[in-house]
Subunit: 224 residues, 2 copies
DNA sequence: GGTTGTATGACAGTTGCGTGACAAAACCGT
DNA sequence: ACGGTTTTGTCACGCAACTGTCATACAACC
């Protein structure tokens, strides 16, 4: 799910935008001032930023410039003013798009998508799931323990990814058989064996597993 | 100087746009129909395409889709209609921006710049991809190892570029077959053979590949 | 202490990969 | 069009790694 940060001082409009975007399936958060927004973006970057031009304190143009300095996040200006001069200035400052209020939420959403399509191509970030000092990159097909690559086999890798994807939740042997092996039926012991082998590789003390733990009678889970 | 292609059937508007853009410093060319525009873009790609939605014959949406299929060129829709439905549809079809006629040329120009900034971020750095002492120039069609040119065949080159473009990620044989050969189906061993040949040329010790590595059961990836 | 559920080591069959050989196809200069 | 050269795809073989099964040992629960 993609996150959107809305920087807008008018509480009513901000709330309306946030609700509408949430409805469109975005993870949302809002800020009432540029300063607050910049801080939030620095702390926990969203995938898109919507920013109003008229903000108290630091104005929208400056806000855009600073966002742009830190980050390559796609920025959309949402402003009441439709003056060409403002539009040009905002785009020059580093904004990617400029829409005039009031804006149809469907249009905004489509513009955000179009923008992310472009932005994604740049970064293509490789996802990394972290469990303590254990790192799993499903894309890279790589597992690391304390930064060192751990050679795992395909089945072990799939199993680990499956567990990682549902981190913290128990998965029964049946579920694992189904998802990793595609078996509808089969010997559940098979899972045990592979879990064991995986532990040898990823746990510091395979006898006392910290991450890949057994829940007697239920199955296995991966914890942080 | 950057080139802009304007696809617009109304002669007066097209001419006005072309003149105005030329004035802004763009190298311009125009097309009166989608078919003509597609042909021109294929023959000599412009850096931006402006397209009207209402075109005789192939309509704007289809035109966008076809442009997008060939190419990653930034596309801006310039339309008289400001209906949300049209905007969303155009963006979904692959357009990057949508402006409503009449449009201030300064705004249009700023939007084009903003768009190119994004597009460039994705494309320009692709000029030389470096993996240790291995350099790949997709544009120049050249591969170098420790500064020395390495003669690779076309297929090897495509394969290498495909892997380089997704550096650090595993690509399955299926994916490679699809992307390099365009096969939807076929013998996956074909990939092995070419990977092997490529290794002979680009790896210091082809037996222990450092860059073009195998992930048993998953595929291949190129690492730094 | 008995029962149930889990860990693990060994093993044989299987799979996946690298490679060299070869023929077909594409390419290229004449 | 022709002949030589390079490139491409197919195949078969061998090796190494992986997989699933089983038997046994161990731990948890009642």
């Amino acid at each position: 799910m993609t996150g959107v940060l809305v920087i807008e001082d008018d509480d009513r409009i901000r709330l309306a935008l946030l609700l509408a975007l949430e409805d469109e399936g975005y993870r949302v958060r809002g800020a009432g001032t540029a300063e607050e927004g910049l801080l939030m973006q620095r702390r926990e970057p969203a995938d898109n930023v919507l920013v109003d031009l008229m903000l108290p304190g630091l104005d929208g143009f400056e806000c855009i410039r600073r966002l742009r300095r830190d980050d390559d996040v796609p920025i959309v200006v949402v402003s009441a003013r439709d003056d060409t001069h403002d539009i040009v200035a905002a785009l020059e400052a580093g904004a990617d798009d400029y829409v005039v209020k009031p804006v149809a939420i469907k249009e905004l959403s489509a513009r955000l998508r179009a923008l992310r399509r472009r932005a994604r191509a740049t970064h293509d970030p490789v996802q990394v799931l972290t469990f303590g000092r254990l790192e799993i990159s499903p894309d890279a097909g790589e597992v690391r323990r304390a930064g060192r690559p751990v050679p795992v086999t395909r089945t072990e890798f799939r199993l680990l990814c499956e567990l990682a994807e549902h981190a913290g939740r128990v998965l029964s042997r049946q579920q694992l058989l189904q998802r990793v092996w595609g078996y509808d039926t089969g010997d559940e012991r098979l899972v045990d064996v592979h879990v064991g082998r995986l532990r040898q590789k990823i746990e510091d003390d395979p006898g006392n597993p910290r991450h890949l733990v057994t829940l007697r009678g239920l199955g296995y889970k991966l914890t942080r």
